[in-house]
């Protein structure tokens, strides 16, 4: 039988049923899905409260739509050709190479590849990358939005400025402030590396700037005059918290401009997780809020790859997070604060930007919504107050910061939203990227040493290896290559074109059933430079 079901069962077997599908099933076709013995524990960000479902997926006629498709009389198979597949996969790919100067590359970062594949329409993931211009180092981050893309968009635009400002020494802050004051040209702080599709909001730019300026003004005032070394970890934590605070404040204060007013509210009422890496020489800091993940690719001496996790997921699978939540709230809430592996039975990530519904008091929420624009008032979702909502805030944007000192064997870092980690094991992710980046040179190089090998045997072996690697050459971008595997891998771990083609040709309404938005940044390190740092000491 052609159509969705054909795809459906293998997927269920693979426990890859995606969130919205669950939502939809719950409210419309409970009998169908829940009776399935294969149905895994639903992994939705939000639970299946009817109000939520409506908000997340206003079109509630999707199932009819698919059924219509299913019973349509055309049994034809609709496959994409390889070039079509490639054009979908490569539409959002971006590569940046740190420029070499006179043949010498002094940065510990060689460059990065990034890409994203939407499942939501529009995509709710965001990514950012920038070089700090006034301090050393490079910032890279992935942001997974929920309940819309407003929050992830805002965080992707603003967070790096907050981090960069937090890292700036007192004198530089003063210089910038003086420049603003006297209307002189500002020192540039960040050099963005953006894909043309990554946009910045022009309308809110002034508002965002003012908030940022207030922040650095406070930093200037707070400075005691002692020139202390800036701690990156502290700077990251401060920046995250400050930005979340500003998002919350802006929504409370509102804006005379009605467009902006609605925007800041949408930002505050939607949410986003963030996973940000700061690389400066051999110092790698990862600040994580939520369930995106940073994974370090380490090449062992024998050439094999191993994965080192540099972040902890903030969700129900993390015992320490559960512990934290229970400690932060009265004992009598112990059962309600996390229900069905969700915060208050609703939210999957336990830390996030925005999501003021989990942060503000009920009073404040009501006040803001009432005084807010009509669109907000009419929205079921925003009006809905989470159950068992006694001692807010339940949610924080404070990141957990991991420090890692880079070693020559640390070849790359993968930052990705949970869309990737749900479909692939971290070990596979690191192996695929590692083999891609080194081409075939470092994966088990062939050596004749001692064995009797004829030219013919060697030739056969090499031809075989080359054929195996040919899929690598299809992609110029490690992130694209990873997405190709994430979406197209069959049970043997090889890319299956038919499967890839089916997955990518799903209609917008269906795509979210089978996968989440996937956003990946692969940062490649320069082992020579890292090694040189090591030797200096």
């Amino acid at each position: 039988m052609p159509g969705p079901t054909q795809l459906f069962f293998p997927l269920i077997r693979n426990c890859e049923l995606s969130r919205i599908y669950g939502t939809a099933c719950y409210c419309h076709h409970k009998h169908l899905c829940c009776s399935s013995p294969y149905l895994p524990q639903s992994r939705l960000r939000y639970t299946s409260h009817p109000a939520y479902a409506t908000f997340c997926r206003p079109k509630d006629n999707w199932w009819q739509y698919t059924q219509g498709r299913r019973y349509a009389s055309t049994p034809q198979k609709f496959y994409l050709t390889p070039p079509q597949v490639n054009s979908i996969l490569k539409a959002n790919e971006y590569s940046f190479k740190v420029p070499e100067f006179d043949g010498k590359n002094v940065s510990s970062v060689l460059g990065f590849d990034s890409n994203q594949l939407p499942a939501n329409a529009p995509i709710e993931d965001r990514r950012s990358a920038a070089t700090c211009l006034q301090t050393r180092g490079m910032l890279l981050g992935v942001f997974d939005g929920h309940a819309g893309c407003a929050c992830s968009q805002a965080v992707s635009e603003r967070l790096f400025y907050y981090i960069a400002v937090s890292l700036l020494p007192h004198e530089t802050l003063l210089e910038i402030e003086n420049a603003v004051e006297s209307g002189r040209a500002l020192l540039p702080i960040l050099q963005w590396h953006k894909h043309p599709n990554d946009y910045f909001s022009k309308e809110a730019s002034k508002l965002y700037f003012n908030s940022l300026r207030t922040y650095w003004q406070e930093l200037i005032d707070l400075n005691t005059g002692e020139s202390t070394d800036i701690d990156v970890k502290e700077a990251l934590i401060n920046a995250f918290k400050r930005l979340d605070n500003d998002i919350s404040l802006e929504a409370q204060v509102g804006d005379p401009n009605s467009f902006l007013n609605y925007l800041v509210l949408r930002v505050a009422f939607s949410g986003a997780t963030a996973c940000v890496a700061h690389v400066d020489g051999v110092d790698l800091h990862v600040a994580n809020t939520g369930d995106s993940r940073a994974m370090l690719g380490v090449q062992e001496e024998d050439g094999s790859w191993s994965a080192v996790t540099l972040s902890n997921d903030h969700n129900a699978q993390n015992e320490r997070e559960l512990e934290r939540l229970k400690l932060e709230h009265p004992k009598n809430e112990a059962k309600s604060v996390v229900k069905q592996d969700r915060l208050l039975g609703l939210l999957m990530p336990f830390r996030a930007f925005g999501d003021v519904k989990f942060k503000w008091s009920i009073d404040l929420q009501k006040r803001v919504i009432e005084s807010g624009p009509d669109q907000l008032n009419d929205n079921e979702y925003t009006k809905f107050i989470p159950p068992n909502y006694y001692t807010p805030p339940y949610l924080t944007a404070e990141p957990e910061v991991t420090y890692h000192r880079l070693r020559p064997q640390d070849k790359f870092l993968v930052l990705a939203t949970d869309g990737l980690w749900e479909t692939m094991h971290r070990q596979d992710v690191v192996r695929i990227v590692g083999e891609y980046l080194t081409g075939m040179h470092h994966q088990q190089p062939i050596a004749v040493g001692g064995y009797k090998v004829t030219l013919g045997q060697m030739h056969g072996l090499l031809t075989e290896r080359r054929a195996k690697m040919s899929s690598v050459f299809e992609d110029q971008n490690a992130a694209t290559h990873l997405i190709r595997h994430a979406v197209g891998n069959n049970e043997f771990g090889a890319v299956d074109h038919e499967r890839l083609s089916k997955m990518l040709s799903l209609p917008e309404e269906l795509a979210r059933m089978y996968r989440d938005d996937i956003t990946i940044i692969v940062v490649q390190f320069n082992s020579h430079v890292v090694g040189a740092y090591q030797n200096q000491e």
């Binding site: 043949g103 075939m440 040179h441 190089p445 062939i446 013919g456 060697m458 290896r465 020579h528």
Partner: protein, 878 residues
């Protein structure tokens, strides 16, 4: 260290050689054991104990210099020399390279006899395979050139190839070239033999001694700092192979030696069941990118892949040295190619894949000569995988150069001074060698241009011209337009023009040439080297009169065609000089002369003079307005009369063009056509160009490129330095006697040689040939380097050629010699000798009849604006 790591495949034979050498050394008791302190003084210090260093030491000591120290950081004959594939091949593209290889062949042949050290020399011959017709043409061209310098070679059929080598698959071949006297030799043993002979001649050799840097005072080498102490010396020779670049940069005043290493792989196998004969010919399958030779009954096969792996960009790098491993996946295409060529090898057992970095240069030619900035600093490096073939000859030429000031052959093509500042960037070198290495085995067609390292030096008009369809070539790092593709032409098809026949730009250049003849064209010639020479007193003239061969004491505003000659009367430089004022001169030389000419001037100007020499190349954009209507365009733009009465030929005036003031306008075009050169301060370039184009519109103005210029100058019999003229060509040999102040009683460099030559007559003569029975559409085009035959006897080679759209014939320029039929000695060439011959030009084995001329074709000269047009009538003497 590096050489230790590399020496994992130590060959037994080499070991023996080393021991033998050691005993020979102690026997000769000239060189001390290396534990003994270095001498504090020497005439010459050579750095590098590979084949290059030992060859230079060998030749210097043989020619009589004894006070020589050779330093090697590791052990003698290690490095690239040790891992060289050992193939000596004379089939090279340049004649000078063929001669070097030929000399090396003869030298190595008798070396064992001379030194008693086994070199493993075997005369195997080599076979170059052609899988395509174009490749066969390329081989035929090499073949004709080899034959005329006395190296036997022949073009053979695939069937013959099969007879010569039993294992070859010849089904896909269209032909081949057999060079029977090519040889195989152990390069490490050759280096040891050369070292032994040098040592016997008094050269002191120290291994495990590193040169740290060279000490330079006042632009002159004074000594060498090593890790074992200082040695004072007059001459330093950098033969450091792939480390030569680093060593050059280590000086306080760096010497730029543009070369870069790439990994190079070859395969060694165990012997075949019936081991290959030791005299099995070497196979070079350039279309398959591989070479194959016999190695101890088995096979040694390597190649030059399309995707080379550059290495040591940042200099010696321990990590990269450790990673120098066998890379089978990288070798896979070459292995496939090998098995396609010799299918029976399938069952042959692998012994080893050797990875030995080789050094490459930006233009695929080796580097030799003296540094332009440091006197006494000589270089011999960058062998592009042909170190063994060139070792002997290159060492000999460099030794001659050091001893006599110049080698016995013209080596401008290999001279270090051909490079400029561009080539000192590591990024450039890394990118360029990745193009050069595959090019070794690529088909070399006429007029190819490098693709990497481009768009560095450009005229301010570059973007403007590019937008109008300019196609570019690069000279000395400078972009110059070749021609302009009209908007309606198919661009893609044009860019793929790789042919030995009529190129697809033929019609485009024709229309440009026609426009130069009938209306007016603009050519951006900003790349030309421009110097200003001024002095506060009257010294300038005095000194320049001694340096330049023509009389420069002309009224202010006049332009003189002249050049700087060496003691032998040969052209070191060819230029036009405008006298701007009593005390200042403006000198225009060919683009690639920038470094050489500067060095020559600096070297020969008195140290204490108040002469000010300034390189103003970058300050001026040069526009060449060629054509009969140029005069109309300029007079309209300047409101000044430009008629010959007011502005005679070979005249220079500062005037305004459009709004721009101070444009140097010169009535010359470098082609013999009427017109003007405008030297425009760069900030005015765009303005002047725009004005010229808009005013010129009604006179039919259009852009033109260097191909049109080339066609024009060659049909007018204009010689260009670097192509036709070189350091061994005198003015008398190319009919430029009237450009020399022989009769004026003034001394100048080279005068004595010229006077003698005038008395005795010349031994070669620059001649123009017009091809008669050549079909432009169907026959192979001449390029340069084609042998010239007079009455069936070889008399010389062409130096440049072009199609003349006016004569509708091909024109070749070249030198005619008069070799004695009995002894082969050169004899005097008279006008009569030239005129009384029947000539043929050999293009890839096919001879075309040619008419020889000593003067430009009269019909072309009638366009003269004035009867006494100096530029034209003075061209070839009266």
């Amino acid at each position: 260290m590096f050489y230790w790591l590399l020496s994992v495949v130590r060959r037994q034979r080499i070991r023996r050689g080393w021991q033998k050498w050691s005993s020979a050394r102690s026997g000769a008791s000239v060189a001390e054991a290396h534990s003994v302190a270095l001498p504090t003084q020497a005439q010459v210090v050579i750095c590098g104990g590979g084949i290059m260093g030992t060859s230079v030491a060998y030749h210097l000591s043989k020619m009589g210099w004894k006070d020589i120290v050779l330093l090697e950081q590791g052990r003698l004959a290690a490095g690239s020399t040790r891992f060289c594939a050992g193939i000596l091949s004379t089939a090279r593209h340049l004649t000078i390279e063929q001669k070097m290889a030929d000399y090396s062949n003869k030298l190595y042949h008798q070396l064992e006899q001379e030194t008693g050290i086994q070199t493993g020399y075997v005369r195997t011959g080599s076979i170059f395979l052609a899988q395509t017709q174009d490749r066969l043409i390329s081989l035929k061209r090499i073949n004709s050139r080899l034959n005329v310098i006395g190296i036997p070679s022949e073009i053979i059929s695939p069937k013959k190839v099969a007879e010569l080598h039993p294992l070859l698959n010849v089904h896909d071949l269209v032909g081949a070239m057999h060079v029977p006297e090519d040889a195989m030799v152990s390069s490490a043993d050759v280096a040891l033999a050369l070292a032994t002979a040098a040592s016997q001649n008094g050269v002191q050799i120290y291994d495990r001694t590193s040169v740290l840097h060279v000490i330079v005072k006042k632009g002159q080498v004074t000594g060498v700092e090593t890790d074992k102490g200082q040695i004072q010396c007059q001459y330093f020779v950098n033969c450091a192979g792939q480390w030569a670049y680093e060593l050059g940069l280590s000086n306080e005043e760096p010497v730029s030696i543009p070369l870069h290493a790439c990994e190079h792989f070859y395969l060694l196998t165990r012997p075949l069941e019936t081991p290959l004969q030791s005299n099995t010919p070497t196979i070079v399958d350039t279309d398959g990118r591989i070479y194959i030779r016999n190695w101890q009954g088995g096979i040694l096969s390597g190649g030059f892949e399309k995707n080379p792996k550059p290495i040591f960009t940042e200099g010696k790098n321990q990590l990269e040295i450790q990673n120098l491993q066998e890379d089978w996946d990288h070798f896979e295409p070459l292995l496939s190619s090998l098995l396609r060529r010799m299918p029976q090898l399938e069952t042959l057992e692998i012994m080893k894949l050797v990875n030995c970095p080789e050094t490459f240069t930006p233009d695929m030619r080796c580097i030799m000569g003296e540094s332009p900035s440091v006197q006494g600093y000589f270089v011999l490096a960058g062998m592009n995988s042909a170190g063994l073939s060139f070792g002997g000859g290159a060492g000999k030429y460099l030794a001659e150069w050091m001893m006599h000031g110049y080698p016995s052959e013209n080596v401008w093509e290999l001279d270090l001074k051909r490079f400029g500042a561009l080539q000192s960037s590591r990024t450039f070198l890394r990118h360029r060698v990745m193009e050069v290495m595959p090019l070794l085995y690529d088909l070399k067609v006429p007029r190819w241009d490098f693709q990497t390292g481009r768009q560095l030096r450009t005229s301010p008009l570059y973007d403007r011209l590019d937008a109008q369809g300019a196609r570019w070539m690069e000279k000395h790092g400078f972009e110059r337009p070749k021609y302009f593709v009209p908007p309606d032409k198919d661009l893609l098809a044009l860019e793929q023009s790789k042919t030995f026949y009529k190129p697809d730009w033929f019609d485009i250049v024709e229309s440009e040439v026609k426009c130069c003849k009938e209306a007016v064209c603009v050519i951006d010639m900003s790349s030309f080297t421009k110097f200003e020479i001024t002095s506060t007193g009257d010294q300038a003239l005095e000194i320049l009169q001694y340096l330049f061969s023509n009389d420069l004491d002309v009224p202010v505003g006049h332009i003189v065609h002249t050049g700087m000659l060496n003691e032998g009367g040969g052209y070191e430089n060819d230029c036009s000089i405008a006298r701007l004022s009593k005390r200042s001169f403006f000198m225009i030389s060919p683009t690639d002369q920038q470094v050489h000419c500067w060095a020559w001037l600096k070297k020969h100007m008195p140290q204490d003079s108040n002469l000010l020499l300034e390189d103003v190349t970058w300050k001026y954009t040069a526009l060449n307005l060629i054509g009969p209507r140029a005069v109309d365009v300029l007079s309209e733009l300047s409101y000044a009369p430009m008629t010959p009465d007011h502005f005679p030929s070979l005249f220079c005036k500062e005037m305004s063009v459009g709004y721009a003031n101070g444009i140097r306008v010169m009535s010359m075009t470098h082609t013999g056509e009427p017109g003007f050169m405008l030297y425009i301060p760069i900030e005015y370039a765009l303005h002047v160009y725009n004005e010229v184009m808009s005013v010129g519109q009604k006179y039919g103005i259009r852009n033109a490129g260097y191909y049109a210029l080339r066609s024009l100058r060659i049909e007018k019999f204009f010689a260009f330095w670097g192509q036709d003229l070189n350091t061994l060509t005198t003015p008398l040999e190319c009919g430029r006697e009237s450009w020399v102040k022989l009769e004026k009683g003034m001394d100048f460099i080279g005068r004595d040689a010229l006077l003698q030559q005038k008395q005795n007559g010349v031994y070669k003569r620059f001649t123009m040939f017009i091809l008669d029975d050549h079909d432009t559409d169907l026959d192979l085009w001449p390029w340069w380097g084609e042998p010239i035959y007079r009455n069936g006897q070889y008399v010389g080679k062409t130096t440049s050629s072009a199609y003349s759209y006016t004569l509708e014939r091909h024109v070749c320029l070249g030198f005619v010699h008069n070799f004695s039929e009995d002894t082969g000695e050169e004899q005097v060439v008279t006008t009569d000798f030239i005129n009384r011959g029947e000539y043929e030009i050999d293009i890839a084995g096919h001879r075309f009849q040619a008419k020889a001329k000593l003067y430009p074709v009269a019909s072309l000269v009638t366009h003269k604006r004035r009867k006494d047009d100096v530029e034209l009538s003075d061209l070839h003497g009266k």
